[in-house]
Amino acid sequence: MQRFINDPDFVVEDTLRGFVKAHSDLVKLADNPKVVAAADAPILGKVGVVTGGGSGHEPAFIGYVGRNMLDAVAVGEIFSSPTAKSFYDAIKMADGGRGVVCLYGNYAGDNMNVKMAVKLAAKDGIDVRTVVANDDVCSAPPDEREKRRGVAGEILMWKCGAAKAAAGASLEQVRATAQKAIDNCRSIGVGLGPCTLPAVGHPNFAIEPGTMEVGIGHHGEPGARVEPLKRAADVARDMVKTVLDDHNLPAETEVAILISGLGATPTNELYILNDTVESEVRARGLKVARTYVGNLFTSLEMVGATLTIMALDEELKQLLSVEVACPVRL
């Protein structure tokens, strides 16, 4: 393993210390060192917006804490849900007296820990509503959408939910908008190379050279199929097709495109993918309103990329245009 690590058992703690030093104008560590909060959190009179998840996905989740964005984030071990206590502490850090939404991804551990945190918060009189992201189309068939995992579409859910909260909306309005945002997202991942958990020391799955895993998850969950690696344009076309076949959008729909690297793919290759993605989306009669390209939601040093396409209405389009100040440029 060729990695910048002090102690494999403390990579998360070390990451957070460095992160807060780099972005002290925007974020702070809570008393619970596994909770990152916006510098000005909680904002009185505003609905709090929190999320949480395992580490190893940086800049998610912590990079999306800031002004007009997330108020607090619960941080877990690498690829492992934060504790119920950390979700609860994040909720408390975000509580400005009008309730808190917890917008998180559909994973067994997160579901359990959030459920327990919501109960703890209820004892303090904090009203918490949740939205569970399930945008990954290859993780379950369309009729079992509730089983699908949450992936990079979460970023757009956070942005819309947080912008709605910043505009003064009520708890229920923020929840409903975040729910609509994620319902309008579909994502797919393609993996070209595996990743290694620092504390484990070797990759826990393999992708044979010359092949790609279509539909891979954010923790290396196996995809829908393994195929020979193709030219970027062909991969991009397949990704668009899988996402839009699931989405079934009427012509003229405005969309946002989000392409994220999984950690070890050079950024230029993400633009190569976007070149075809954007042409394909237009060729299908859709209008591209916004595009985000970069390492926005990674999986340690996995080689690969995810594509998210979000259908926009006037509200979501406006919310995506709200300026934010968080460590990631959005």
């Binding site: 877990g76 492992s80 504790t83 206590k85 067994a108 551990g109 327990m116 504390a199 484990v200 826990n204």
Partner: protein, 216 residues
């Protein structure tokens, strides 16, 4: 009748924690076949913290179980933190007012723990999870006491039931949790949660057995 006392049995929990720490690599290796490969790492981290807090302090069994449950719920996260956290907290609550633990109290403890696990997870027997070790172990213990076996014999049945249940997961397809995304590809491999649960139940049963006293 056989029983053991709550007040001087806290060291059983330390022994459980130590067994998990010793199995760090083993559990991670099993998990690497169908999961992230971090089950042993995360379990050893949490149980190791609990061991630090328990070492050198004589506590009742119920108090030590509370310490372990709290540590798992507040320090581990993932799925196993809450699942084992509520299980040990459930054990503790069930034993809080018990002075002498006989087979009936032990069975009540096991039932409470199982109910707690099932209250936050959705797994059933056959889903390839820790329940596949736990449920048959409890069933075996309960069947043994029902037919009049002593506490010690019932504890042996508990261990055998847990390990048979653990091994049954090899042939199962995961229905829940991260491994469920593998479908058929999860067949042929032990479930890491079932493996750690069997270690916990064996260690618990052996600890209890070593403390049993015969009372008239």
């Amino acid at each position: 009748m056989q029983q053991f006392s709550n007040s001087d049995s806290g060291d059983i929990v330390l022994a459980i924690a130590q067994r998990i720490v010793e199995n760090r690599v083993h559990l991670s290796d099993i998990d690497g076949l169908i999961g992230d490969g971090d089950h042993g790492v995360n379990m050893a981290k949490g149980f190791g913290i609990a061991a630090e807090r328990l070492r050198g302090k004589a506590r009742p069994l119920s108090a030590s179980l509370t310490v372990l449950g709290d540590v798992l719920m507040t320090e581990i996260g993932g799925s196993m933190g809450p699942l084992y956290g509520v299980m040990f907290s459930g054990f503790a609550e069930s034993l809080n007012d018990v002075v002498e633990i006989d087979a009936a109290a032990f069975e009540r403890m096991l039932r409470t723990g199982l109910a707690e696990v099932q209250s936050i997870g959705d797994a059933k027997v056959g889903d390839k999870t820790l329940i596949d070790s736990y449920a048959p172990a409890l069933e075996a213990f309960s069947a043994a006491t029902a037919k009049g076996d002593g506490f010690a014999t019932a504890l042996d049945a508990l261990i055998a039931g847990a390990e048979k249940g653990r091994d049954s997961t090899i042939e199962l397809v995961a229905k829940i949790g991260r491994a469920s995304r593998l479908g058929e590809r999860s067949r042929g491999v032990l479930d890491p949660g079932a493996a750690s649960c069997a270690i916990i139940l064996r260690s618990l049963a052996e600890g209890a057995k070593a403390k049993l006293r015969v009372v008239p």
